[in-house]
Symmetry: C2
Subunit: 285 residues, 2 copies
């Protein structure tokens, strides 16, 4: 049995706990909070479910102890830097860190890589939603006069998105002023954005999300090869499950002496799954 | 540059040649026919584009010489046996054989494995077509009185398929007799099958195909996670491209000393693509 611990117990940590308990080859080695003693953790793999900006700090400490980690670090522009930094810690300490293991970045990245291999020339568009954008929601909450907010991402195709921003105003705040400040914010200034005042954000709460990923490309000299991947999912449940499936891959890579930091496009799909090679090849190939 | 040779020059071999010429990191190391001298082949990888039942014979001879091979062996029930047989030849001779590298088995297998990792409990249905089934077309051509045939696979959902069988009769053949023989054939007896007489099969010729692959599953304890993968493609062009992308993966695995026979679910998507790890992670993750 693989001993898997959870560090950070928000939406993702809770969903990961459910996925560990449902896994036939894992036991839960404990749930730890940000400020717990990391030296106390005894596990084969730690799922780092902290806010994204704290991932590197915690993963570094754990990898230095030779403990594998998995995180869902999601700042696309900084993934390569995180990979390089953790790789330098993992290799000498014989650990494996699987980074950016969610659905985007994560499983969508694997799909994009496969589609590019099937049709090397062409365009891929990733259309997100409908679903809540965490980054845009946080940006909306930071606008003066906003008590609570929800920014929904609506796909318009070809990677273009509309932002539907629901706001609960603070007592006495002026809607027009808040709306103008929000529309001028860099998070919203470049997209079609609608601001809607509501009585209660809590009444709109929904963790549903999804993606529509399309590629039209060229295989060899043959054009018009068309591919499409769609999903509609509970966001934290999927992210928690991806972390857990990647924990299994981390252990397999470590067993094979393949130490270092990896993104999901560097993993073989078979290593995400429980069972023998023979049973998986017979069931899935 | 990776030197890639082609063995067998039918539809797939010709499409593979186009994909090799379009690849930035490969050169064509020759096109060989079934009865050519295999000892004359000088290549890093040979794409075995022969009929499926001849794949093992040729791949065995090449792997024994330490040459990597890629094939699109497509008899689902015999894939594990082929993998075991080629693995035993590859490992001592430091070769890599990537088997069943087409779209199904092949890239669809990777998608099925990923979807199972995202939602471990649930059902996946693979719906093929509309497109020509080679196996059913060959079976229809073998019926006495049939001059030429085309068996189209029509998806009805939940993995159930209709067979639309177009037949060109031999001079003097009786349609009702041919139809009865075809419907009794084991290839057709278990599916909804329609037999349609036509003047010319050649006039219907079309290598278009496709798939609709759906999974509804459970991530952790959360039900109703929905995934769908669709493609509409030129069949030989896609198969040729997959062989070529897998040739690149074979060379990468050999460089890392990871010898043996592998199916596509055992490959990391990044190894199918040209370019550095850094450029690919930055572009795709």
């Amino acid at each position: 049995m693989i001993k898997v611990a959870i560090l950070g117990y928000g939406n993702i940590g809770k969903a990961a706990e459910e996925a560990i308990k449902a896994a036939p080859d894992m036991t839960l080695a404990g749930v730890y909070h940000h400020n717990d003693c990391l030296d106390c953790i005894d596990a084969d793999v730690v799922l780092v479910c902290t806010p994204t900006r704290e991932v590197q700090k915690f993963a570094t400490v754990l990898a230095a102890r030779g403990i594998c980690t998995v995180d869902s670090f999601d700042i696309h522009g900084q993934i390569w830097n995180l990979r390089e930094a953790l790789d330098a810690v993992c290799v000498p300490n014989k650990a494996v860190s699987i980074i950016s293991a969610g659905w985007d970045p994560g499983s969508d990245s694997m799909i994009r890589a496969i589609l590019q291999a099937l049709a090397p020339k062409g365009l891929t568009y990733t259309n997100f939603g409908p679903g809540r954008s965490m980054g845009h929601t946080v940006a909306a909450k930071a606008i003066p006069g906003v008590k609570n907010a929800l920014s929904m991402t609506i796909p318009l195709g070809t990677g273009i998105h509309r932002r539907m921003v629901y706001i609960e105003l603070e007592e006495g705040a002026d809607f027009k002023t808040v709306q103008a400040a929000l529309l001028a914010d860099d998070y919203f200034a470049h997209d079609e954005t609608h601001v809607i005042p509501v009585e209660s954000i809590d009444a709109l709460n929904n963790v549903a999300h999804g993606v529509n990923l399309v590629r039209n490309g060229v295989s060899g000299e043959t054009h018009n090869q068309r591919f499409e991947f769609n999903m509609t999912i509970n966001n934290p449940a999927l992210t928690g499950q991806v972390l857990v499936s990647c924990a299994r891959a981390a252990v397999r890579l470590k067993e094979h002496g393949d130490f270092g930091a990896k993104t999901m496009i560097e993993l073989a799909p078979i290593d995400l799954l429980p069972g023998t090679k023979e049973s998986l090849v017979k069931a899935l190939v």
